[in-house]
């Protein structure tokens, strides 16, 4: 069945490729899935039908328990993959394994792409696209998921509407975004996320301060229940504050920014912007406070800390005039030079490679999905702290996911090589045991014992028959001797004394009693012997069955082990494939590690460029101040020359 399946698939694939070579549009009945389904023979015999049904139910067990790799590769489920019921779920399974390109090939087939009831599959693909920040693709896919006939799972409706709203919002299609937004349950977590994304679109289109305040107010949670809610509050306020700051609505900006929490992921940015907003309101002293907090409590390489250094000296000059602000500028220059040195130290391939190795292993081992493990975040370290701004960028997350995928697959391959090696050893051990059993005379001994048992049973049977055929059957020898004695006494001379006659009478009575006792005991003794015979017969039957079973097992094992060479060759071939895949993945892993390092270096480069700009501005300011002072002193005849 499976071999013919492969052949059919290969033929079908070739046929399909040839038929599509002319780039003709595919008719629904001429598509990939239809060809595939037609190529695999349908189950015909009752047993095949039963096994097919079992395979489908096993497939759905794995599929519904989010183990799609098991679903696709399970021995029972695998022959049912071409079944249309299964085919409908395959794209979702492949998508869950991070194999979106394969899922898309399936979904582009008319047999599936135009089928109703595929909402969950489209949804899963849309979700993957949104995870990759590909909102255009996500919007296209979610449209299919939310179609009336797609029958999307009701529990996913809110998330689907969020994806649709965000996709439209990203393209500034406010009306469509709001229509999708209206479908989101207000109690759902997606409601606030979508509200934020819509706010961004409204900002791009120039929302007024009043409308913005109203919009933000809709989504702020007064008493946040967890860090996530609190972080989203902060994000709303920070973004709104920055928007108002950019539009020179400083009072509004201050009102948003001062409420951002002091221990969240957006604190550093908020402190920087808050300081700027205050400085724009000429509240210079107050403006220095948040920047001081930033410089004291956040890493120097934090982009907001660096900007705050420059901002501090700028405000110091506004506050104190030229020369008195020089120490602040010089302090800023010193700190920025330190930051530049730190960046140079960080921008080292070995350091960054060690940093990547440090967190990747922990991540790949923390998931059951070996093909697409969930990202767990980067392990805490000084390098991670310095690169904090990099960690949430989509470029880094994409490369990180790829690296984790490769690392996870590499781990799987190494594990399977070990398993295969053990399996091979087990097989050889099984074969050795089989040969040992076959070559030993143990089974022959058991067969002899069985025969002896059979002889015993026959013997007992003869005994029973003999006892039954003779008078006083089942009597034992002492009883017979006693009876003979009694009979002898009874038959002695009849002319004896009266005493002798009494003895003869007693002997006669005793003879009668003994005969009566023997007759009475006869059935019981017969049954005891027969029972013994039945027990032996049962034992014989058990032994014989066991012997037959063992012989049957040996015959099966014999046939199986006769193909050992072939089996071992198959195992070795798979082992070689694993070896080749390990090599490929090792090379890919090294390449991807370098890619992650390159992304980190690019981030460091960006930081350096920014820092160099800040440093140049600072140095120019210092030069300007010295120059101004020099000119002033020159004009005043050298008096009051700055030292």
């Amino acid at each position: 069945m499976q071999k013919s399946g492969l052949l059919a698939l290969a033929v079908a694939a070739t046929a399909w490729v040839s038929s599509t070579a002319c780039a003709q549009p595919t008719a629904p009945d001429n598509g990939l899935i239809s060809t595939l389904s037609a190529s695999v023979p349908a189950p015909k015999t009752p047993l095949e039908i039963l096994n097919h049904e079992l395979g489908k139910r096993v497939y759905f067990f794995h599929y519904l328990t989010s183990t799609p790799l098991d679903a696709i590769t399970d021995d029972d489920a695998e022959p049912t993959l071409s079944d249309m019921d299964i085919m409908y779920t395959l794209p979702a399974g492949l998508s869950e394994l991070g194999m979106d390109s394969y899922a898309n090939v399936l979904l582009n087939d008319p047999a599936l792409g135009l089928s109703p009831g595929m909402g969950n599959t489209w949804f899963m693909l849309a979700r993957n696209a949104s995870d990759r920040n590909d909102w255009l693709q996500a919007g296209r896919l979610i449209g299919r998921a939310m179609a009336n006939d797609a029958l999307l799972n009701p529990t996913d409706t809110s998330e689907a509407a969020f994806i649709a709203a965000t996709s439209h919002a990203n393209r500034d299609q406010i009306t469509q975004a709001e229509q999708a937004f209206d479908l989101i349950d207000e109690e759902s977590e997606w409601y606030r996320f979508a509200g934020y994304n819509l706010m961004l679109a409204k900002m791009r289109l120039g929302i007024s301060s009043k409308d913005l305040q109203q919009w933000v107010g809709e989504f702020l949670v007064d008493e946040a229940e967890d860090q996530q809610q609190s972080a989203l509050n902060d994000r709303f306020r920070l973004t709104a504050g920055k928007y108002e700051l950019r539009n020179k609505h400083y009072d509004e900006a201050i009102s948003y920014l001062r409420l951002v929490s002091k221990d969240g992921p957006y604190t550093s940015d908020a402190l920087l912007q808050y300081g700027w907003a205050l400085s724009k309101r000429w509240q210079y002293d107050q403006a220095l406070q948040p920047w001081r907090v930033l410089q004291e409590h956040f890493p120097l390489l934090n982009i907001h800390t660096l900007e705050s250094l420059m901002a501090t000296s700028y405000v110091a000059e506004l506050m104190n005039g030229g020369v008195p602000s020089l120490p602040v500028y010089e302090y800023t220059e010193k700190r920025m030079t330190e930051a530049l040195e730190q960046l140079d130290q960080l921008n080292n391939i070995d350091t960054l490679s060690q940093w990547v190795s440090h967190w990747e292993e922990r991540q790949s081992s923390a998931s059951d999905n070996i093909l697409s493990p969930d990202l767990q975040g980067v392990a805490s370290s000084s390098t991670s702290r310095h690169l904090e701004g990099l960690l949430s960028t989509s470029a880094f997350l994409q490369e990180q996911q790829r690296l984790i995928d490769i690392r996870s697959m590499l781990g799987w391959v190494q594990q399977q090589q070990q398993h295969l090696s053990i399996a091979r050893a087990d097989k050889l051990a099984n074969q050795a045991i089989y040969l040992e059993v076959v070559e030993s005379d143990h089974l022959a001994q058991v067969a002899d014992n069985t025969k002896q048992l059979q002889q015993q049973i026959i013997q007992i049977n003869h005994q029973i028959q003999a006892h039954r055929n003779q008078p006083l059957g089942f009597a034992i020898q002492p009883e017979r001797n006693r009876l003979d004695q009694l009979e002898a006494i009874t038959n002695e001379s009849k002319d004896g004394t009266s005493m002798e006659q009494d003895v003869q009478t007693q002997a006669s009575i005793l003879q009668g009693i003994t005969l009566w006792q023997l007759t009475k005991a006869q059935p019981q003794r017969a049954w005891a012997l027969q029972k013994q015979q039945l027990v032996l017969e049962q034992q014989y039957q058990d032994l014989n069955t066991q012997l037959t079973n063992i012989n049957e097992l040996l015959a099966q094992a014999g046939a199986f082990h006769a193909r050992s060479e072939e089996h071992l060759a198959t195992i070795d071939a798979v082992s070689n494939k694993l070896g080749a895949l390990e090599q490929t993945l090792t090379a890919l892993h090294t390449k991807q590690q370098q890619q992650v390092v390159t992304v980190a270096q690019s981030h460091i480069g960006m930081l350096k460029d920014r820092l160099k700009d800040y440093l140049a501005t600072t140095r120019l300011s210092i030069a300007r101040l010295y120059d101004g002072e020099l000119r002033r002193n020159t004009n005043s005849g050298g008096l009051g020359e700055y030292d």
């Binding site: 698939l9 290969a10 096993v58 067990f61 590769t73 390109s101 079973n549 063992i550 198959t570 890919l588």
Partner: protein, 168 residues
């Protein structure tokens, strides 16, 4: 061996290879993923068919019919010549079973003949009380791969559930 998966992925893979550039690392990762799926399928077949004769295999499956009067939490399988097996159920697995899926519980290596099997399923009844559902019985293993289905079915009249074993 397991050819359907290999054939199918090869079949689907043809088209994406045309679509992407060879330098694209994502393409290489996708290709590696495809290899993992194919190898996983082949390894599964090796484990089931090449290490010991398929004729000695007995596969045990579990199905839950309706599940109104009994929701499984764990299962213990034991018997003469059977290494005890314990398994804890997740909510997702119970849900899948209630939808009609069949769980492949375990594969046993058994010689032909009669074998005693004892299964204890611990779960909750419709009143949320913990109770044990026990099946104990003898099954006969012949010379073919035996598939046994342990079914937990609702007995509406008794407002309870029963466990039965039958060959698939």
């Amino acid at each position: 061996m397991k050819f359907l998966v290999a054939g199918m992925l090869w079949f689907f893979g043809i088209f994406q290879a045309v679509a992407a550039t060879p330098e694209d690392i994502q393409l290489e990762i996708d290709s590696a993923k495809r290899s993992v799926v194919e190898l996983s399928s082949e390894l599964s077949a090796i484990e089931k068919q090449l290490i010991s004769p398929i004729s000695t295999k007995t596969s045990l499956y579990l199905a839950l019919s309706n599940g109104k009067f009994f929701t499984p939490m764990s299962i213990t399988i034991s018997g003469h010549g059977i290494s005890p097996i314990n398994y804890l159920y997740t909510e997702k697995e119970v849900q899948a079973l209630k939808f009609g899926a069949v769980q492949p519980l375990t594969d046993l290596e058994l010689a032909p003949g009669n074998h005693l099997l004892k299964v204890v399923v611990r779960g909750r009844d419709d009143n949320n009380r913990v109770r044990d559902l026990v099946y104990e019985g003898v099954f006969r293993k012949g010379g073919n791969h035996l598939k046994l289905l342990l079914s937990i079915t609702d007995d509406t009249a008794k407002r309870s559930a029963v466990a039965t074993l039958k060959a698939w």
